[in-house]
C-alpha cells in the first residue's frame, strides 16, 4: 500500500479496532483543531455524537449569522427616516420612466451556462471522495476514475464544437 503523501512524519497513526473501514488509511483526528476538544465533546454533549456536535456548532453559527445581519438591517430601518413618495419608490432607470414589464424575456444562454455548470459540479462532487481514497486505489479503480473524467471531457469538447460555450 502506498503511503500517504506528506512532507513530514509527525502525524502518528494510532492502532484502532479492525473494521472493514480500516482498509482505508486516513489521518487520525487531532483534537486541538476544534473549538472544543474531542474528549470534552464525548463527555458532555448529552447524546450528541462527535460529528453531530460539530454540526451543532454550524447550526448555532448559522442562526447567529442570520440574526446579526437582520438586527443591523432592522436597526437601520428604525434609525433612518421614512418618507416614501412616488418618485423615490419608483424603479431606478437612470431618470427615464420605466417602459413595459420588468420581467422581460432573457436569452437561454444563461441557462446553457447553468447546464454545463451543473454537470461539471456533479462530476467534481463525485471526484472528491475518490480523491480522498486515491492513495489506496488499485489500478482498475484508477482507470475507472480516468474514464469517468474522460466522458465529461467528451461532453465539454462536444459543447465547444457546437458553440454552446460561445457568448453571443
Amino acid at each position: 500500500m502506498a503511503k500517504p503523501l506528506r512532507f513530514c512524519e509527525t502525524i502518528d497513526m494510532q492502532p484502532r479496532e479492525k473494521t472493514r473501514l480500516q482498509r482505508v488509511q486516513t489521518f487520525p483526528i487531532r483534537n486541538r483543531y476544534a473549538i472544543l476538544s474531542r474528549e470534552f465533546v464525548k463527555f458532555h454533549t448529552n447524546g450528541f455524537s462527535a460529528m453531530l456536535s460539530q454540526y451543532f456548532f454550524i447550526l448555532v453559527m448559522s442562526g447567529l449569522a442570520v440574526v446579526l445581519p437582520v438586527s443591523a438591517i432592522v436597526m437601520g430601518h428604525f434609525l433612518g427616516p421614512r418618507r416614501p413618495d412616488e418618485i423615490k419608490n419608483d424603479i431606478y432607470e437612470s431618470g427615464v420612466e420605466t417602459i413595459g414589464e420588468t420581467w422581460v424575456q432573457f436569452r437561454a444562454q444563461y441557462y446553457l451556462i447553468g447546464l454545463v455548470f451543473v454537470v461539471f459540479d456533479v462530476e467534481a462532487l463525485f471526484l472528491f471522495p475518490i480523491a480522498v481514497a486515491y492513495q489506496q486505489l488499485e489500478m482498475f479503480a484508477v482507470f475507472a476514475t480516468i474514464f469517468f473524467v474522460l466522458l465529461l471531457v467528451i461532453g465539454l469538447l462536444y459543447d465547444w464544437r457546437k458553440g454552446a460555450l460561445e457568448w453571443q
Binding site: T26, V142, I146
Partner: protein
C-alpha cells in the same frame, strides 16, 4: 494551559453553575460563533480602509485622511451614515426575495468563517468535509444574487443578477477543480490536516515552508484567478460595471441592506484569500510554529500576514487591470481554465500512481504544472497575436481613404 482551551474552561464553569450539558454547549458554541461573526463583520471596516488606501496610492492620491488617524475611522463614519439612510422598497418588489437577499448574501459568507483555521488550535470547527463545505456554501451567494435581481422589479438589476450568476457559475468549476488537486495530493478534505501536511521538518525543527503552492504552482494560479472572479474583483468586476449595468443587482437597495451586499463582497474576497492561503500557502505554517507557548501566536501572525498580503495583491490587481468583456470572461473560464485544470488533475493522478518515491512524485508534479502552464501560455499568446492581426486588418482603412484616391477611370468616387 493553552489559550485555545477557553471553551473547556467556560463550559466547565457553566456546568458547575448547574446548567445541563446541552445548555452549556449551546452557550459555548454561541459565544464562539459570536466572536467569529463579529470578527468577520468588523474586519470589513479594516478591509475597506486597506482597499481605499491601496487604490488611492496607486492612483497617486492620499485617500481617506480626515476621520481618525490615517483616516482609519472613515469606514466607521460611512457605516454610521448608511445606518441613518432611508430604507427604500421599490414599487411592486417581491417583498420576500427583496428583503431576504441581503441577509442571505452576508450570512452565506459569514458561515464560511466557521472552518477557516486561523492558528494551530484556533478555528471554529474542523469539519471532515471542509473543502466541500466552502464550495457548497458559495451557492448561497448565487441564490442571493438571483433573488436580489428578481425581487427588485428592475430590468437592470435582473440582467445584472443573471450576468453575475453566469460569472460565478463559470468560475466555480475551475475553483472546485483547483481544490480537488489539493485533496488528491493530501488525501484529506480537513483543513486541519491540509495545513498540518504543509509543514517541513528539518532536523526536528518545523520550518513550516512545505507549501503546496510550491509543488502545484499551476493550481495555485488557477485558484487565484478564479477567486478573483468569485469575489467579483476587477478584471472580472462586471457586477460594478457602472457604464453598462448602473451598479449591479443591488441597484435598488439603500441603507443597511446595501451595506450588507457591500460587506458580503469585501468579506468574500478576504475569505477566498484565506482559503487560498490555507490550501496552497501553508495556512498558519511558518518558521517556529511548533514552539510550545509562542507557536500559536506566531501561527496566527503568519496566517494574518499571508491573508492580508494576498488581499493587498488582489487590490493591486484591481487598481491595475482593465475590465474584460463578458464573452472573453466566459471563454476564459470554459475554454482555458477548465481544460487546463482537467489536464492537470489527470496528469497528477497518473503521477501519483507511478512506482516512485514521494519526493520524486512531487518533483514530477511540479514539472507537469510548469509544463502545462507553459503550453497554455504559449497557445494563448499565439491566439492573441492572431487575434491582434485580425483586428488590425479589420480596422485597416479600406473604404474611406481608398475612396478618396483617384480611381483608374480618373474620376473621384
Amino acid at each position: 494551559m493553552q489559550i485555545t482551551q477557553w471553551s473547556d474552561v467556560l463550559s466547565g464553569w457553566l456546568m458547575g453553575m448547574g446548567l445541563p450539558g446541552w445548555a452549556a454547549i449551546a452557550i459555548v458554541y454561541g459565544v464562539g460563533s459570536f466572536i467569529l461573526i463579529n470578527y468577520g463583520m468588523l474586519s470589513v471596516l479594516l478591509l475597506i480602509w486597506i482597499t481605499r488606501k491601496a487604490i488611492s496610492r496607486m492612483q497617486d492620491r492620499i485617500g481617506p485622511n480626515r476621520v481618525g488617524k490615517y483616516g482609519l475611522l472613515q469606514t466607521v463614519a460611512d457605516a454610521a451614515k448608511l445606518l441613518s439612510k432611508e430604507d427604500i422598497t421599490p414599487y411592486q418588489a417581491d417583498k420576500i426575495a427583496y428583503n431576504l437577499s441581503p441577509v442571505l448574501a452576508v450570512s452565506g459568507v459569514l458561515m464560511l468563517l466557521a472552518v477557516v483555521p486561523f492558528a494551530p488550535g484556533l478555528s471554529g470547527v474542523d469539519l471532515n468535509i471542509a473543502a466541500l463545505y466552502i464550495v457548497a456554501l458559495g451557492s448561497i451567494g448565487i441564490m442571493a444574487a438571483l433573488m436580489a435581481g428578481w425581487g427588485s422589479n428592475n430590468k437592470y438589476a435582473l440582467l445584472a443578477g443573471f450576468r453575475v450568476v453566469a460569472q460565478l457559475l463559470s468560475y466555480e468549476i475551475p475553483l472546485v477543480l483547483a481544490i480537488l488537486t489539493v485533496v488528491l495530493l493530501t488525501g484529506s478534505m480537513r483543513f486541519g490536516n491540509i495545513v498540518e501536511i504543509q509543514s517541513l521538518h528539518v532536523a526536528g525543527f518545523n520550518l513550516g515552508l512545505g507549501w503546496l503552492g510550491i509543488v502545484m504552482p499551476g493550481a495555485l494560479i488557477v485558484f487565484f484567478i478564479s477567486s478573483l472572479a468569485e469575489a467579483e474583483l476587477t478584471p472580472f468586476d462586471l457586477l460594478e460595471a457602472e457604464s453598462e449595468l448602473i451598479a449591479g443587482f443591488h441597484i435598488e437597495y439603500s441603507g443597511m441592506k446595501f451595506a450588507m451586499f457591500f460587506l458580503a463582497q469585501f468579506l468574500n474576497a478576504w475569505i477566498l484569500a484565506a482559503v487560498g492561503v490555507t490550501l496552497f500557502l501553508g495556512g498558519w505554517q511558518g518558521p517556529g510554529v511548533g514552539l510550545p507557548v509562542i507557536g500559536p501566536l506566531l501561527g496566527l501572525g503568519y496566517f494574518m500576514i499571508k491573508v492580508y498580503g494576498i488581499y493587498v495583491l488582489q487590490q493591486w490587481i484591481r487598481g491595475t487591470f482593465p475590465r474584460i468583456r463578458i464573452d472573453q470572461m466566459m471563454s476564459f473560464a470554459w475554454k482555458v481554465l477548465v481544460p487546463l485544470m482537467i489536464g492537470l488533475i489527470l496528469i497528477q493522478a497518473i503521477i501519483q500512481k507511478l512506482p516512485t518515491p514521494v519526493a520524486i512524485q512531487y518533483v514530477l508534479i511540479f514539472i507537469a504544472n510548469v509544463g502545462v502552464m507553459a503550453v497554455v501560455a504559449y497557445v494563448l499568446q499565439k491566439y492573441f497575436r492572431e487575434e491582434q492581426i485580425r483586428t488590425k486588418r479589420s480596422f485597416e482603412p479600406k473604404s474611406l481613404i481608398g475612396a478618396m484616391q483617384v480611381s483608374d477611370e480618373g474620376t473621384m468616387y
